[in-house]
């Protein structure tokens, strides 16, 4: 042991890894798992919202401008005559495109869930579309260029009535309007859920940061008295929370991915036209991938804000 006191001088040697001033237990405790659950819920909610948006867009694209002319006539021969007359009129009418009489096979398929396969046999044996004596209207699909204003539909209806008195014109989209409304409400619900879950994540981080501060109060005081700044101390906590949030976010996103994939598979098996349009695209997945990133940013900012606020109360 040297008796001369070692008055410190600048010296060089291989760096030695510095220990964390505040104990850092990475991915331990409840916070990473709370964040994982929150992120999973947010991603599933966001995916639901995006799927509904895609469904709405696909349905609107398919139905936009579409009209259906029904010939509601019980007598098959008259119904056929009026259908042909209506088709001829629609083919001549300005702004009407792609008019076509819906083939009997499609009509049969449409009513089959209610009336059974007997429709087919009856149709072959008896009058077209009359199943077990139940008259089925003839249908003509067509598209209208431009907007589907009620006045325009009324005018077309009036024109058709003159040649086909049993004709009734329906805007295809009108039937799905309540569905679109409900889908839009669900999208807003998804947004609200994401906002609420973000708030809950922030609150959980706030509580965790406060607890961590309380547990390490003695150490923080020492660091303060040795000249540590609020920013230095806050950086320790925010780094720790950021690490937990990123880890939790990855786990949560992974869990949500599995759930979405399974749900997607189940919906795909429904083979319903409107559902197939709900599939998530690359842009949707990119948006979903932002959720854990945003959660990590929210958690980090919340931790910093909480710690800085608490430290300002110390001398």
């Amino acid at each position: 042991m040297n008796d001369a006191p070692p008055i410190p001088q600048a010296a060089s040697r291989l760096p030695r890894r510095s220990a964390e001033i505040v104990p850092q237990a990475r991915m331990s405790g409840p916070i990473p798992w709370v964040i994982a659950i929150m992120v999973a819920l947010m991603v599933v909610a966001a995916a639901g919202g995006l799927a509904l948006r895609n469904t709405g867009k696909a349905a609107a694209r398919e139905l936009s401008g579409g009209i259906t002319v029904q010939i509601v006539e019980a007598r098959p021969a008259e119904r056929d005559r009026q259908a042909r007359a209506a088709l001829a009129l629609l083919q001549r009418a300005q702004g009407v495109t792609e008019p076509r009489i819906v083939p009997q096979a499609e009509l049969d398929a449409l009513v089959e869930p209610w009336l059974g396969e007997a429709v087919d046999e009856q149709a072959q044996g008896g009058g077209q579309g009359d199943s077990l004596g139940v008259p089925v209207p003839a249908l003509i699909d067509a598209r209208l260029a431009g907007s589907l204003a009620p006045a325009r539909l009324a005018a077309l209806q009036e024109q058709l009535r003159r040649t086909a008195p049993s004709a009734r014109v329906d805007d295809q989209a009108i039937w799905l309007r309540p569905v679109f409304g409900a889908a839009q409400s669900l999208q807003w619900l998804a947004v609200a859920l994401i906002v609420l879950l973000s708030g809950a994540t922030g609150a959980a981080v706030l509580l965790a940061a406060r607890t961590a501060l309380g547990n390490n109060r003695e150490t923080i005081e020492i660091v303060h008295l040795l000249g540590g700044t609020d920013a230095q101390i806050a950086a320790i906590f925010q780094r720790s929370i950021a690490f937990d949030a990123i880890g939790g976010g990855v786990v949560g996103f992974g869990a949500a991915f599995v759930v979405i994939a399974l749900l997607g598979r189940s919906f795909a098996q429904l083979q319903a036209g409107i559902v197939t349009g709900s599939a998530l695209g690359w842009m949707d997945w990119a948006l979903l991938a932002l959720v854990p990133a945003v959660a990590a940013v929210v958690a980090t900012i919340t931790a910093r804000w909480t710690v800085m606020r608490a430290l300002r109360r110390m001398l």
Partner: protein, 242 residues
């Protein structure tokens, strides 16, 4: 009275301190510390030594009076600037206040890391300092596994590692054997010769005699005994290496 151009390290003017609504634990305390001075702070238990040291190491603001440190008003100074002032201090706490989960090495390195020193400039001085206080083989030991005397030596090493301008020590030799006490005092003297102002609070009357050039600050029931005014208006001292 304000600090003069030559720059007192510390100036207390009629400082009073009370905790909450209790009685004053320090009353009308006035003194001036110049660079290179060596002070012993003595007084009976409860005389206010620790409270005075707390004011010196900026852990407490006074209830009244004025404190200037390193030429700045330490009372009205915004708290964002306090860390820079604290980095010019070295403190040996009575209860050591070592960070429990850090090794002896990391505890001693803490002031250097806090002040942003590069890791390559930390390792050697910290190792040398620990070797000098006889803890070369305990560098990786946590405080809980160290004896009281060893903890105290780590606390002292941490206080002096940053070459502070003002070293404040609260009973720094209370838990070490007489030989180590003298050895630690030599360290304080060596720093003092390099210009560090040293304030050591102690009960140990033998220690006072070990540094003949030191001045004695005696506290009695929160009041500083200074009949000649030598503490308030001390003579200038030569500073720098002897």
């Amino acid at each position: 009275m304000t600090p003069d151009a030559e720059g007192e390290i510390v100036q207390f003017d009629n400082v009073g301190l009370r905790y909450g609504t209790g009685r004053e634990v320090l009353s009308d305390v006035s003194f001036t510390l110049y660079p290179g001075s060596f002070y012993f702070l003595t007084g009976a238990s409860g005389a206010g030594k620790t409270s005075l040291l707390k004011l010196l190491y900026l852990a407490q603001r006074p209830s009244r009076g004025a404190i200037h440190m390193f030429g700045t008003d330490a009372i009205t100074m915004p708290r964002e600037r306090l860390p820079l002032l604290r980095r010019r201090l070295g403190v040996v706490f009575q209860d050591f206040r070592l960070v429990p989960h850090l090794s002896a090495f990391d505890n001693v390195a803490l002031p250097l890391r806090v002040s942003g020193a590069a890791e390559r400039d930390i390792v050697q001085p910290v190792a040398d300092m620990l070797e000098w206080v006889g803890l070369a083989d305990r560098m990786d030991a946590r405080p809980a596994t160290l004896s009281g005397g060893e903890q105290q030596r780590v606390a002292i090493a941490r206080a002096v590692i940053g070459r502070p301008q003002l070293l404040v020590a609260d009973e720094p030799t209370g838990n070490v054997d007489p030989d180590m006490a003298v050895k630690l005092l030599r360290l304080f003297e060596a720093l003092n010769r390099l210009g560090t102002t040293v304030v050591v609070a102690t009960h140990d009357a033998h220690l006072l005699r070990k540094v003949p050039e030191s001045l004695i600050m005696r506290l009695d029931k929160g009041r500083l005994s200074d009949p000649t005014g030598a503490l308030r208006y001390p003579p200038r001292r030569q500073t720098g290496p002897a």
